[in-house]
Amino acid sequence: MSDQIILQLKGISKQFPGVKALDNVSLDVRKGEVHVLLGENGAGKSTLMKILSGVYKKDSGKIFLDGKEVEINSVNDAENLGIGIIHQEFNLLPHRDIAQNIFLGKEPTKRGPLGVKVLDKATMYSKCNELLKTVGIDLDSRILVKDLGIAQKQMVEIAKALSLANLKILIMDEPTATLTKGEIDKLFSIIRKYKSMGISIIYISHRMEEIQVIGDRVTVLRDGKYIGTVPVKETPPSELIRMMVGREITNLYKRDYNEPGPEALKVCNLSSRGKFKDVNFSVRRGEIVGFYGLVGAGRTEVAKAIFGEDKYDAGEILINGKKVKHHMPSQAVQNKMGLLPEDRRDEGLITKMLLKQNVVQASLRKVFPKGILNNKVESQIATKYITKLNIATPDENVVVASLSGGNQQKVVLAKWLLTDSEVLIFDEPTRGIDVGAKAEIYELMNDLAKSGKAIMMISSDLPEVIGLSDRIYVMYQGKIVAEFSHENASQERIVNFAIGRGDTL
């Protein structure tokens, strides 16, 4: 890393209806550094990056690249300047294959019959395979995007950003939110490689431990304002958190381990061909049971099968000791189950609808038993959760799509907290949520467990799994390979099981 400044943002402001998303924000990025952008949900990180990559227009401010002022009015402009971005939310076409997505708009061509330009499929697919190899994913470039898991989609997004020629600045907006340890390690080695080539990386993440590992300098934003830039090496995480939320967070994971009640959910020998096999586990009332594993280990698939969204071939599911079979999620909900899905935009939210409408969506029957909507009641409930979860929004009447990623996730949480579910499956509940809000959510989950709910928590955030769970199951290639109690859980052993090495003490 040199001290040469390659990119400068000066006095950037941006106003959305009802929100000043950015207020006179400046940022310097050095050549070959990993510059971390830190801030609470809704602080303006994604907005700043969308301005830099030509998605949004700034209201005021200047951008300098290599010392020269540049105008960025479109995504194309940004790409031509060598600025690539991996967005927080996916931008892939589900019905096209991986290669078609990666080369969208820049497909390789060749001279065909009569000298017309035609798509050069062979080159496209071979180039794509090469690219996938650099990213370290073992996937055929002809697979349709809709058949990929969420982490695989993320890796495709990364490959897509890397396909840009003359790359100078690479923006990564929460690239690891959907990834587990293995892929994160791969991503970090890619980042190091690009760094050594002199490419600068702007990196956004809410995972504090990552910042120490990969970051060089950190810039903190709060409520759309610039707070400061500090070197990572000389700044302890507690100081970063203080800059970011304006207060200290001493104890992130707070759990009162109580004597658990009777078994609320029991799964016996559940199998689904190609997805998981002979899965046995139970969750008791008052327990939080963590599920850890790599992507594709089958955790989400098990959850969806229990919830009636996917079919399974064999096995039994018992709720409160009673055998159940859910053919569709509505039956699971009737049996007082709830599933907070991992993919908030496709599965968790109706982004066209208003915040308040999303909050009550899973509880319509409970909130309006007569079947008649009441605007006032809806607003009151939503307002309560906006306060409780500290959702950054002008009010409850905004379209969910206009919220920042982490705040959208809070809406999904609110939606399931409002239901009367006795058995809750949380699939990556704190994905994209800032530390301050995480602490609040962990406290909520602790309260839920205390009040006798049974919680199955799938998470790729290992400290979270260890810090919150009564017991932990580790899955590897569709099977449960280990179970830990919270007393004997160790990060290292869990990871070893998760990557299929078993217990190598």
Binding site: F307, E309, M328, P329, S330, A332, V333, Q334, L339, P341, D346, E347, G348, L349, I350, T351, K352, M353, Q357, Q361, A362, L364, R365, F368, G371, I372, L373, K415
Partner: protein
């Protein structure tokens, strides 16, 4: 704020089109502002409005219903023969049930067999039309009782009964779609069926019920239609399917699902009817009429897109 002015104009664009149409037509054609013509326009618009409501609901759930015209014909032909041979009440009930049945079958084909709405209802369109032909065997039924004729051609205080009926149906549907949890779930299903299903809504049931409601609305329109015509035959109602799509689009319900709604479609159907009525009065050839409707649909979609871009 210049943008606000444009936004305002776009929002009320349809209303303004309607007013301009009304003024232009009354200036161009002296026959337009006569009582009989207005009554005629309202009567015509009523039937289109009713079937368009069904189409709108289908489109809101991200589907389409191409069988509306044929279901209308089949249910009204069978109803007509029963009304003639047995009783009015029985005929009406059977007619409505046939509509419900056809619609439910559409919904079941879409949800349980997995056909796309386009394919399922296209098939139903042929089947229902074919059955109507078989049933009628090329004959016509005409000359209904006065009591039955009242529903489609009667008047109360000089205003067609149809107008009151449409107002009633509009109120019911507006309530159902905008004020109930059922309506909320229709929109949710159309916007993101997966998220809605995972929130515990039986989305299959939602889709089936919407198509069943469609069939019912087609049957109601069919009954009113034969009552108004005082005759029934197998080939009636062929225009209704395409016209109802046009009315829905002109009204401002886009194909993407989860947006728009019946309140908008009223305007769309009235604009459609006025346009056609006006062109008839001005003796414009029917070829040009078709092209004009196409132009208005495109204009409407353009307004829709522009206003969307303005809102971001």
């Amino acid at each position: 704020m210049k943008h606000n002015a444009i936004r305002f104009l776009l929002k009320y664009a349809r209303f303004m089109i309607l007013i301009i149409l009304l003024i232009a037509l009354s200036l161009l054609s002296p026959a337009f502002l006569t009582f009989t013509n207005i009554a005629n326009v309202l009567g015509q618009a009523s039937l289109l409005i009713i079937v368009s409501y069904g189409m709108t609901l289908a489109i809101v759930t991200k589907g389409i219903d191409l069988s509306i015209g044929s279901v209308l014909a089949l249910s009204s032909c069978i109803a007509a023969s029963i009304i003639k041979s047995q009783s009015i009440i029985l005929g009406i009930i059977i007619g409505l049930l046939i509509g419900l049945l056809c619609g439910s079958i559409n919904g079941i084909m879409i949800t349980k067999i997995g056909l796309t709405p386009f394919i399922a209802t296209y098939g139903m369109d042929w089947i229902a039309r074919g059955l109507a032909y078989v049933y009628m065997g090329g004959t016509q039924i005409y000359g209904f009782d006065k009591a039955f004729r009242f529903f489609g051609s009667g008047q109360i205080m000089g205003i067609p009964v149809l107008v009151f009926e449409v107002i009633f149906i509009t109120v019911v549907l507006c309530f159902l779609t905008y004020k109930t949890t059922y309506g909320r779930n229709i929109y949710a299903t159309g916007s993101n069926i997966k998220a809605t299903r995972l929130a515990g809504v039986n989305t299959d049931r939602m889709v089936i019920s919407v198509f069943a409601l469609n069939g019912l609305l087609a049957a109601i329109a069919g009954l009113l239609y034969i009552s108004r015509l005082n005759a029934a035959e197998a080939l009636i109602g062929t225009d209704f399917t395409l016209n109802s799509i046009a009315a829905t689009l002109i009204g401002g319900t886009p194909f993407g699902g989860g947006e728009g709604g019946v309140a908008r479609t009223v305007m769309g159907a009235i604009i459609m009817t006025l346009l056609i009525n006006g062109m008839n009065l001005l003796e414009i050839s029917s070829y040009w009429q078709t092209a004009t409707v196409g132009f208005v649909i495109l204009l409407s979609l353009f307004i829709e897109n522009t206003s969307k871009n303005f809102l971001v």
